[in-house]
């Protein structure tokens, strides 16, 4: 069974208490005591499980390919904005799924179910707050991430496709914000959605039909809310998750760019040859 070789920390980095104890002198004629055997098996259990999975999936190679990448000199905190956006999305996904356990997307029951979540359900106000404020956090982080990519020139060849995917993700996030805003179904969200759908209808030729599609008819009707709910919690999150996968694949494949203030250095040997 092939063992994974984990990178070992430099000597002295690990506190003394956590360092592996030196082998105890064997008792008797080389037979391990039960206690030692249990300790040995216990400490090896994690590796054994990982080995078992890896032998059947070969996932360790893909994991190493995706995570143990070389990053350019000068990589700094600005490069964490993409991960921050990803975690904002994960927060939205997890809290959203939990909120869906209580939410009822019918015009007569929606407001009451939100009121129940906010005022009565245990931690409901907190989880709903995470979802509500998290949406703004996600939009802000997306724009910061986009600004970093733009100002560092990280959208240039060969990363144009990743920029395009990122723009689609930005649009999908906006659709999430738009469709999610209606769901509390109070006066503010109702009228904001009326205004939003009408703005969407100002697109020439296609706009009026797009509004009809969003409302499921010429007026804000009985199925508009459930339509927004389905778009908000099924259609768009699936697309976002798939596109994030493609986005991350391209990041791992192409690597990240150095900050623009660092000049590329050629190999010392090549430099000599150039002279």
């Amino acid at each position: 069974m092939p063992k994974i070789k984990l990178p070992s920390p430099p000597p002295g980095a690990v506190p003394k208490a956590l360092r592996p104890a030196p082998q105890r002198p064997q008792e008797g004629n080389g037979k391990k005591s039960l206690k030692d055997k249990l300790i040995h098996d216990g400490t090896e259990a994690g590796t054994t499980v990982v080995d078992w999975v890896d032998e059947r999936t070969s996932l360790s190679g893909a994991t190493r390919w995706a995570l143990f990448r070389k990053v350019p000199k000068g990589t700094n905190w600005f490069y964490t904005l993409g991960s921050a956006t990803l975690f904002a999305f994960l927060n939205q996904a997890v809290t959203g799924v939990i909120l869906a356990m209580y939410y009822d997307p019918s015009p007569t029951r929606a407001y009451e179910s939100i009121r129940y979540v906010t005022n009565e359900a245990f931690l409901g106000e907190f989880v709903r707050g995470m979802h509500k404020w998290g949406s703004s956090v996600m939009v802000i982080l997306i724009f910061l991430h986009m600004a970093r990519t733009f100002f560092f020139g990280a959208y240039k060849y060969p990363r144009e496709l990743n920029w395009v995917i990122g723009v689609v993700l930005l649009i999908l996030t906006m659709v999430m914000s738009f469709t999610g805003y209606l769901l509390p179904f109070d006066q503010r969200s109702y009228w904001a959605t009326i205004v939003g759908v009408n703005i969407n209808g100002t697109g020439a030729l296609i706009g009026p039909y797009l509004s009809d599609f969003l409302r499921a008819g010429p007026d804000f009707g009985a199925t508009t809310l459930s339509r927004f709910y389905a778009i908000h919690m099924m259609l768009i999150p699936g697309a976002i998750a798939a596109l994030i996968g493609a986005h991350l694949y391209l990041v791992a494949k192409l690597g990240t760019t150095a900050p623009p203030w660092l000049k590329a250095e050629s190999e010392p040997e090549l430099r000599e040859q150039e002279v």
């Binding site: 009228w191 009408n198 703005i199 100002t202 009026p208 599609f213 010429p218 804000f220 199925t223």
Partner: protein
């Protein structure tokens, strides 16, 4: 690539010494099998995507039924000032589906005789409170004889024509009729700045000039 092409001497499988080839056969069995599999896969995928897509798009093409709502006896309205009436515009969703209209009797002195060219004059003028800017509810201020929108400052005169602010066309109206001495309100219609009648458009869609072509009538329009 060109070299490979040259190696293929004939388009007939029999000439290319493929085992089991038939006389006159040009498609290899492998190609035929690949094509069949692709076709079967495409058919299976279309079998669920097309109905689902049509199901989602259905409401765009579905013509709404016209409903007539009783809003009171004829004696409740007069030709000079508006009376607000509250009625169910969209059935089935409770209070959300109720809307307000301002109603007065048709007044030749005010409305003129050519209110709607070529069409029967509505016995009552019922003006929708849905602002033609972005759909907020307007209210009528009798002292100013103006309709005023709270959201972005749209102002309309007594006929619903734009006086100021961002609205792109006059306020919408409703069809009206009288049945057994009672006024009924029917489907909505939109008007341009000359008060000519158009099928209902969403707010923010102008109807003057190129606007009537840029924002065409929708399939969901109810026939009165």
């Amino acid at each position: 690539m060109p070299d490979k092409r040259e190696n293929i001497k004939s388009r007939y499988t029999a000439d290319r010494a493929i085992p089991g080839a038939f006389e006159g056969e040009t498609v290899t069995r492998r190609r035929f099998m690949v094509g069949t599999t692709h076709l079967a896969g495409a058919g299976a995928a279309l079998a669920f995507t097309l109905p689902a897509l049509a199901f989602a798009l259905g409401p765009v093409f579905e013509r709404q039924k016209a409903t007539w709502e009783d809003v009171g006896p004829e004696s409740a309205f007069n030709p000079d000032t508006y009376v607000p009436v509250n009625f169910t515009n969209i059935p089935g969703i409770g209070d959300v589906g109720r809307t307000t209209a301002y109603v007065r009797r048709f007044n030749p002195a005010l409305d003129g005789s050519s209110q709607h060219k070529g069409e029967a004059i509505q016995p009552y003028v019922a003006i929708s409170t849905r602002c033609a800017h972005l759909g907020c509810p307007v209210r009528y201020v009798p002292a100013a004889e103006r309709f005023i929108c709270p959201c972005h400052g749209g102002v309309y005169d007594k006929l619903g024509k734009v006086n100021g602010g961002p609205p792109v066309r006059p306020l919408d109206r409703f069809y009206t009729r009288v049945r057994a001495g009672r006024v009924q309100i029917g489907p909505r219609f939109s008007v341009n700045s000359q008060l000519n009648r158009f099928s209902p458009r969403d707010p923010a869609e102008p109807l003057d000039g190129i606007g009537q072509y840029a924002y065409p009538a929708r399939f969901s329009t109810a026939k009165p």
